[in-house]
Assembly symmetry: D2
Amino acid sequence: MKIGFIGLGRMGAGMARNLLGSGHQLAVYNRTREKTEALAREGARVADSPVEAARGSEATFTMLADDHAVSEVVFGRDGLASIPDPAPVHISSSTISIAFARRLAEEHGRRGQPFITACVFGRPEAAENKKLVVVAAGEPETVDRCYPLFDAIGRAAFVAGPAPWHANVFKLCGNFMIASLLETFGEGFAATRKAGLDHHRFLDVMNELFQSPVYRNYGATIADQKFEPAGFALKLGLKDVRQVLELALELGAPMPIASLVRDHLVSAMSHGQEAQDWSSVSKVLARSAGLDDEATAKTASA
Amino acid sequence: MKIGFIGLGRMGAGMARNLLGSGHQLAVYNRTREKTEALAREGARVADSPVEAARGSEATFTMLADDHAVSEVVFGRDGLASIPDPAPVHISSSTISIAFARRLAEEHGRRGQPFITACVFGRPEAAENKKLVVVAAGEPETVDRCYPLFDAIGRAAFVAGPAPWHANVFKLCGNFMIASLLETFGEGFAATRKAGLDHHRFLDVMNELFQSPVYRNYGATIADQKFEPAGFALKLGLKDVRQVLELALELGAPMPIASLVRDHLVSAMSHGQEAQDWSSVSKVLARSAGLDDEATAKTASA
Amino acid sequence: MKIGFIGLGRMGAGMARNLLGSGHQLAVYNRTREKTEALAREGARVADSPVEAARGSEATFTMLADDHAVSEVVFGRDGLASIPDPAPVHISSSTISIAFARRLAEEHGRRGQPFITACVFGRPEAAENKKLVVVAAGEPETVDRCYPLFDAIGRAAFVAGPAPWHANVFKLCGNFMIASLLETFGEGFAATRKAGLDHHRFLDVMNELFQSPVYRNYGATIADQKFEPAGFALKLGLKDVRQVLELALELGAPMPIASLVRDHLVSAMSHGQEAQDWSSVSKVLARSAGLDDEATAKTASA
Amino acid sequence: MKIGFIGLGRMGAGMARNLLGSGHQLAVYNRTREKTEALAREGARVADSPVEAARGSEATFTMLADDHAVSEVVFGRDGLASIPDPAPVHISSSTISIAFARRLAEEHGRRGQPFITACVFGRPEAAENKKLVVVAAGEPETVDRCYPLFDAIGRAAFVAGPAPWHANVFKLCGNFMIASLLETFGEGFAATRKAGLDHHRFLDVMNELFQSPVYRNYGATIADQKFEPAGFALKLGLKDVRQVLELALELGAPMPIASLVRDHLVSAMSHGQEAQDWSSVSKVLARSAGLDDEATAKTASA
């Protein structure tokens, strides 16, 4: 298939490369052009604007930081929405609010442009290694048609429902499940450390109990206090948790753990952790228990 | 080895059977004698009192409901602590408070009786199938000597630390990790259901993401609303979460998610759920979101 | 002084009347003109647009529902900001977000238009009876000059700081203090009712203890379950608490009680309470304790 | 009336003095005898044991630290419960758990000894100045008979219900209302301080709004950071909040703010604040917002 791809950050770059590797023709656009070079060498065409990347494609992905960035790329000058008939399917993979996902659907609908979502779970390494979990949503026939693309970027694909925002609900709720785990680890580790016990040993037990790679990876990050470089910056984690809470409000379903995590992320921001991995929310719990951060670091390196 | 085993509830019965199956000689005691019959047929000696089960053994397990039950069996008439020299190792497997675990250690120490803990993670099926995760703690040489027994009952064994109560910290913190997961699922499911989406589908995605048997089992229980018969009764779950909070207090490590779960378990008790599985705490979240329990049941059976 | 007044809702009407009663000349504007009639009879000039109400005045108040309404009246067609030199002082009395208060200051500043805030605490009856508590903020000399106007509408006036948004911080934090009280009453009443005790009696004790009119008024509303007609609709209360949480985020100061109240207001919305008084958040606690709303109503009327 | 009084701590001493000042005959007992001296000079008889203080009296108060202390004084050697017929009315004024209040009622009932509660609200100064708020409970005729005593020690008296533990519900829920206020002030002050504003000014506004002496006193303590000497030690505050949560559990009424305050008091304990006033829970919020305690002190003294 002929594919457009807009947004070559750490996640987007891996996804684009795997699409290319699966034999699709690719046109890419990124605001800072340097990031397109590696893909160009592998055969991707480099476009000068979103609309140029989309033109002639059957489907065009957007994988960007937030609502605002997507809005600019879609509705801005030379944006995706300005493409003349027949428009490609716009596949939104960004983590956006459900309010904005609904607006995207409306606007594309008014213009007669096909639009679906394909949210992804996984860290940049998973994107690189075709190990993402893909959650798509939208008009069933269109989703079906794009299914081979999901296979090209992930290890499994699911359909959340018939409206594009449905995938965003799954994505945000999934991120909430992870955020809750980070907080939970933070509390458990703080308690075991205050008991004078080895929290790495506690992690070993939890790994045997839960047998989950997510527990293994985040558990190790927190136990070792390796919060830099960030896999996912705390500041972005806070953005996501705020979107979870907006979702909870719009749907009328209280999510008190999300509220609790939000408060702790705000505290983390006030202690200068915005660029650290969001699992460093665990340090808020350590401080609350009177554990010294430096002592922590020493234990970790010992 | 010659082993005593006191407490043949759903967990204890499976553990005792596996000890027997590993070639150990077993003397068993249970308050209600009927529960000893199956094991007697398999070769266990049935004792009339705790002290009689322990007499002549190298190690004697206690696997009972709570602090109070253990206290009676150990310090009551014909209790374990009344055994004359040389006393067997008392291996406490019950989920007890750390305050009581410390008291047990003191009392046994005063009497010169060896005492360790061997807490277990796993449901009754896991106990039956030798799949428990064992966390032991106590004087290292004694723990080493008992290691073959842990192998006989579980799939993996860990040592938490040199004091018996250390294993109770790991056990309570581990139960806390599960309790937090139940609450988290409850919030995520309530949100997806209010969005009009299929929460079984959401569970499929979470299973792909977390790849954990704990998520799979509890997730299915909650999604299907199969809270009876209870794997672990909500009332007992509340007991454990209260012990987690006592631990948090004694150690000086706030555990706000434990507080939140406690409050929701109290609400569940007020809605008559004490005998349901503790994962039914999710119904508190459903009610809070204005979801009708009966509608829920219908969705589940559909 | 010559005064413009925009927004004659339940609060604005009382404030405007008291300005008129203190001898000031008044020009009023309201989107729905009927609300201006009573004031016109008392001598106010009725304007056809915001800018016309402001023209020729020394100071013009805006007292509107939210950020959006203020934005329209200020920056919309025939808005306040379009007034030619010399502009009157714009006195914003609406409960707006601090982000928007800052933007107002910037925009007026760019245009060389004087701008201060004068937030008010009190219910419509207090507005009517000149009993508001006024919190002003902005350039000190301008605030001083407008001080007589605050005297005309309230029983006391305070200055929060030199930037207009400072008063909004005080206003939102004050509303938070009240919201916390409503939640607290809800929890206390639920407990006393579950104990089988008379919660009106409990309120008598709390009134003797706290001796506060705020406790007396809200306490009676909750004890009597008189949530309609609403003094302040729950839906608006949720708007305010959300602004409190945005403030907490921007300032980097976690406010966990605000999070908790927000979650409970969301639950109340899901149970159809949006038009009831925001003190009906107490019903969320009653439901959580398994108390029947109808039984409650009966007790209340008994 | 002939009155016994057991427990001459800061609260008890004031209450005893006012009983004496109202013309009652008083026999007093205190574990450390020095505290009886001042009252002896004013005419009180000093007893050598609880039972000796009670003997011959019509009513005997106990005003002690906790369940344990009351238990010892009542059921210990030479305890109140050992008094022969006719026993005086035992009036329990201590802040005890409702479980223990029920046990007291049972035990006295079995012995045919009259028992009521008369809990008090107020700081030591209020006890000294006859300004306590008294909440009594128990068999109506007995309560009526003791009413003059309540008049002698307080500014107002209320009856909670016909069972002695009913007053303890009111007392614990009242303390909860105060604890919630301390947390609320902590959050509000942290936000206003992070905004760069004067939190003393904010307190002025809140005092005008709430007009409550409780707000005035605690607000000033927190704003000035005058946590030593403690009016009510944080460690005792934690004891009370734990009793509130036990009450919530027994009654089946979740009290999430109590949970939140408990967690923050635990954090305060971990930061060495056990002997400071319980309003220093506000420092937990300040730390969470990244506010420096020393800077705080400087601001406070400036």
